[in-house]
């Protein structure tokens, strides 16, 4: 199966659509399921009298479904892809209707999607009829309009929260947050929706929750304001703001960008649960440029996260960054250069330099939740809280960071090179870089949720 679950997530119009599809990705709900070298097909029992006929051309990334959804790809097409990725769609000979459609589609679009991801979100029509011209400008304008509408709504909501105060009992109701998040999802501002949902879980969960929520409301205000001014912002900043609001960029567009070729050191890994998807961030650092990059991997329930990037290893490759020179990137062509002896570690900073690097990153993008740095410091205790300290200063570790015991055992209280993620709660240790090995101690996905992660 040349697709990964991340690619299926990437083509979903919204995270909610993917969640709906995931629930449908159960073979027992389907009949006449099958797959061949070009297509997937099946009939899904839905709320209608007749099952929906769904087919997907997985080579050209096209889909067709008899359901009434105007959202493309619909949840049935996504569900077919999810089952296929999970190996639940049996190989079969395509029925005539599927074959005709797939061949017709292939005639219209003979170039297969580039390996590494589905590249189109086009709406597929009948092969016998001429395809209507796709008005990309109009589609884009509509998306921008929806996004702007979502940002206006977010600003109004923030205004209400600040007027009525954080002691307002409405904040304790999940619906207060969830309804806004749902509206942001509809406005294609998925990244903002995720931030709002995360915040809902903070209310009442810790003694200083008012402070945490207020700070995040400030960041949301900043993003909403910046998002509405995207056309007036300088190019790279506009790109970063747009993607931080949830503007989706197709993998094809990212892979078509100028590559950054380097020897990439896999410096750290960190897993977090975002709603119903487990997200793996793998932090890379260019051995020559010293620039950081982040590769994301996603897994829904019982699916696997990407394990191809191993902490402590390095690989020579083209990396393609998402617009705005942000950290997020896709790994492109790998080069067969001689690999350095293992383990490979990024250069470590002093604590004061690491703080300066974090500050610089946050000054450029104040909405960042995480900033990677590698420091040479020793773990020690200050007033009952673990910190990483050297002669230049100390930086607090996040109280819930899972790898402190291993960091302590590896360092024996002495200075050691550690890659951490700065977060608002403190630094989260990800990797201890020792002379003969790299210890991957970052937060790990729950094995009851993902498989073989």
């Amino acid at each position: 199966v040349p697709w990964s679950i991340e690619q299926v997530v990437a083509i979903a119009p919204t995270p909610a659509r993917f969640t709906a599809a995931d629930a449908l990705a159960v073979p027992s709900r389907w009949v006449v399921l099958g797959a061949d070298e070009q297509a997937l097909w099946g009939r899904c029992r839905g709320s209608g009298r007749e099952p929906y006929d769904t087919m997907v051309d997985h080579v050209h990334a096209a889909w067709r479904c008899s359901c009434p959804s105007r959202s493309q790809p619909c949840k049935h097409a996504l569900a077919l892809l999810v089952m296929w990725v999970k190996g639940q769609v049996p190989a079969a000979i395509a029925p005539t209707g599927v074959r005709t459609w797939a061949e017709g589609h292939a005639r219209h679009d003979p170039s297969p999607a580039v390996a590494g991801g589905p590249m189109t979100d086009d709406v597929v029509d009948e092969p016998a009829q001429p395809e209507p011209p796709v008005d990309l400008d109009r589609q884009r304008d509509e998306r921008v309009e929806r996004l702007m509408g979502g940002l206006v709504e977010l600003e109004r909501w923030l205004d209400d929260r600040v007027r009525t105060g954080l002691a307002d009992p409405a904040l304790a109701r999940y619906a207060t947050w969830d309804e806004l998040a749902a509206r942001l999802v509809d406005a294609r501002a998925g990244a903002l929706a995720n931030r709002v949902r995360r915040l809902a879980g903070v209310v009442g969960a810790r003694p200083d929750w008012h402070e945490v929520v207020l700070a995040e409301l400030g960041v949301l205000h900043l993003l909403a304001r910046a998002g509405r001014r995207v056309p007036a912002l300088p190019g790279p900043l506009a790109d970063v703001v747009a993607t931080s609001c949830g503007w989706q960029v197709r993998q094809a567009d990212v892979l078509a960008g100028v590559p950054e070729t380097d020897l990439w050191v896999v410096a750290g890994r960190s897993d977090t649960r975002e709603d119903r998807i487990e997200v793996r961030r793998t932090w890379l650092r260019g051995a020559n440029t010293g620039r950081w990059a982040m590769v994301l991997s996603f897994a829904a329930y019982r699916q696997s996260l990407d394990t191809s990037l191993v902490v402590g290893e390095a690989f020579s490759a083209d990396l393609h960054r998402y617009p705005g020179s942000s950290w997020r990137a896709l790994v492109g062509v790998r080069h067969a250069d001689a690999e350095p002896p293992l383990p490979v570690a990024p250069p470590a900073d002093t604590v004061v330099d690491a703080c300066a690097a974090v500050g610089e990153a946050l000054a450029a993008e104040p909405w960042l939740d995480r900033v990677p740095v590698t420091v040479a410091a020793s773990p020690t205790l200050v007033d009952g809280r673990w910190v990483l300290s050297d002669a230049t200063g100390a930086i607090a570790l996040a109280p819930t960071a899972p790898g402190v015991a291993t960091l302590l055992a590896a360092s024996l209280g002495q200075p050691v090179d550690v890659t951490v993620e700065w977060t608002v709660d403190g630094a989260v240790p990800l990797t201890v870089h020792l002379a003969d090995r790299a210890l991957d101690i970052g937060p790990r996905a729950d094995l009851s949720f993902v498989s073989a992660a």
Binding site: V162, G359, T380, V382, A409
Partner: protein
Amino acid sequence: MSMTITEHWHELVTTSLLGTDRRDPPAPPDGLLADVVDDALEPTPSSRMLTSVAACVVARRAGLLPNPPAAPLTPPDADPRPIVPPAASRRWWSVVATWTVLEDEWLALVGRRGWRPPADVLVALLTRHRHDDARRARVVRLGGPVVPWLLEHQPALRAPPSRRTAGDPGAELPPLAVAPELAGLLDAGPRPVVRALLAGLRDGTFNPTHRPVLVNFVARARADTLQPLATALASAEVPDAVAGLAQSLASLAGTRAAMLQELA
């Protein structure tokens, strides 16, 4: 004298609890922060409040400064033993994920080699054997002087109060129940072992219900039988009903052979 950004932040938090309908947002300290707030597009209290909060958050985060250096911890007593090599360390993680029956042997061999477990394995061992007195005692002994030091600083790794006794480490390699048909072959060489196991699988003497005792046998068989056993079982023609069992035992034999080589 103008207030600091931190003092201003605390005032913002207080105001945020009440809401700007009931209390006006505090005036920001003079300087860049005040300029930013003055530029707020809508001069309503809530808009000024949100702008103040955003500006204050950015200033505090982007101006991250380290705390003063902290005194280092007193290190544990020195332990001159070498650390288990990386490949053997990775093997422990794989063993506890797939063939836990081999864990005791891994610990015993590491002890015999005079090695000490690496940090990640030691912490995982202490966590894993919090409720198993005998194994925990073995882990504590194997961990050396770092263990009491680590337990002092990481109370979560300590055994539950009811189990905080020295614990009897027991036999280094606890005996395992083995299929009676094979018990006599524990000290035998490769040829009779392979022959007996394949014959048993083919004639129905062994079926999937015997899996635990067959696993125990492979976990205790002589080292020189393992590679031939893994090869023979992986390619053996056996009835479908026991094909999975044969593959499983082949995997165990291969894993144990690799483990013994790494710890040799």
